[in-house]
């Protein structure tokens, strides 16, 4: 059986690194590049992307 981590924030993509702490965070200034990075991360980590508002996207494994 495959063992995976579930219900955990795997990564965050943000426009300001001070808004995120404790998880791997990626800096992306504008909206388009944030979307692009989040898309790649979600496909790589097999997680869903959620928008926390204020320019922070998180990738969560469900």
């Amino acid at each position: 059986m495959e063992v995976t981590i579930q219900k955990a924030v795997l990564a965050a993509v943000t426009d300001d690194l001070s808004k995120v702490s404790g998880v791997p965070a990626f800096l992306a200034e504008d909206d388009a590049s944030r979307q692009k990075k989040a898309l790649y991360l979600s496909r790589i980590l097999q997680g869903a992307v959620h928008d926390l508002g204020n320019g922070v996207l998180i990738v969560v494994k469900h």
Binding site: M1, E2, A38, L39, S42, Q46, A48, D51
Partner: protein
């Protein structure tokens, strides 16, 4: 009729019963050819055991009872066999069945063998005591009794299933007025807007409410719907996984799917026809306090409830 003939007739009737119960429907099992043959052969053994027992007992061969118990033990392992094989598939399913659905399927398979045994025995008994024709009548009656006893309720009997629009508001995805989840990716939001289907399930009575509360039941419905409509997801885009979320204020459930086949009518029909799992069946009707409580404590609650003896929308009492 002589014993040989009666055993033969019982065997045939039992096999026939097994074949009739071996339908493969949209619940997808057993659609595997090998699963099919396994159950066919096991059915022959069950049937033979049932048919042989009757003449043995009539001859006063009481050791037959011991062997019969051994046989029953064998068929108990059917449940374990089905459970194991379905569980093994679970990890790679895009929309898993869930443990409750698997348990339900396994239990159904086990019970079917007991029905086969009893049908074969009844046929053999009728054939020996009366005539071959009476034997077949006996077998048919027992088969029907088994079918009535194991009848599966469908969701549509206790739950109103209606179409509802999937609304994408900013990053929030809603079905009707029920919040499902938030999607951060713009691309996925557009995709969902274009292709997702929604439905709202409203309980007609307390049984429906209890049924919808079961997480296993909801997963089973999603699996059934996805097995016919297809599902537009792969392991790396979980945002397209079908979901069923409960509105805790009203007990309604919103179903969200992103199907390959965007057919609203088919989705509603699939949800209505989904089997009610035994473990998820509403308990309200079986509990005396349910009636008493409703009459005295929640007299005004009968819009959704109303399952008390005086009438209302309530379900059938068994």
């Amino acid at each position: 009729m002589d014993y040989g003939g009666a055993i033969g007739l019982g065997l045939l009737a039992g096999i026939l019963a097994r074949v009739l119960m071996l339908r493969s429907d949209y619940r997808q099992y057993p659609t595997y050819p090998h699963g099919y043959s396994t159950h066919l052969f096991m059915g022959i053994f069950a049937s033979l055991a049932g048919a042989v027992t009757v003449p043995a007992l009539l001859e006063g061969e009481w050791t037959a009872v011991t062997f019969f118990l051994l046989v029953a033990e064998q068929f108990r392992s059917i449940r374990g066999m089905e459970r194991d094989s379905l569980k093994a598939l679970e990890d790679s399913e895009l929309v898993p069945r869930g443990t409750e659905y698997i348990e339900n399927i396994a239990r159904v398979f086990e019970t079917r063998y007991y029905i086969v045994i009893v049908v074969a025995a009844a046929t053999a008994l009728g054939a020996i005591k009366q005539s071959p024709l009476m034997g077949l009548v006996f077998g048919a009656v027992v088969f029907m009794w088994g079918a009535i006893l194991t009848r599966v309720e469908t969701i549509g009997e206790t739950v109103e299933v209606e179409a509802a629009p999937v609304i994408v508001r900013g990053s929030d995805v809603l079905v009707g007025d029920i919040f499902i989840f938030s999607v951060g990716l713009k691309e996925s939001q557009e995709f969902i807007k274009e292709r997702a289907l929604g439905a709202i399930l409203t309980p007609k009575n307390d049984e429906g409410r209890d049924t919808l509360a079961s997480q296993g039941q909801r997963q089973a419905m999603l699996h059934d719907a996805a097995s016919i409509l297809g599902v537009r997801r792969d392991a790396d885009n979980p945002e397209f996984a079908p979901q069923a979320k409960r509105d805790i204020k009203t007990g309604r459930v919103a179903v969200y799917v992103v199907p390959m086949d965007k057919d609203q009518g088919l989705l509603l029909e699939m949800l209505r026809r989904a089997p009610v799992l035994e473990s998820a069946r509403g308990r309200a009707r079986f509990v005396r306090l349910g009636y008493v409580g409703k009459r005295h404590l929640h007299a005004g609650r009968n819009r959704i409830g109303g399952n008390h003896p005086e009438g209302g929308l309530g379900g059938r009492h068994r």
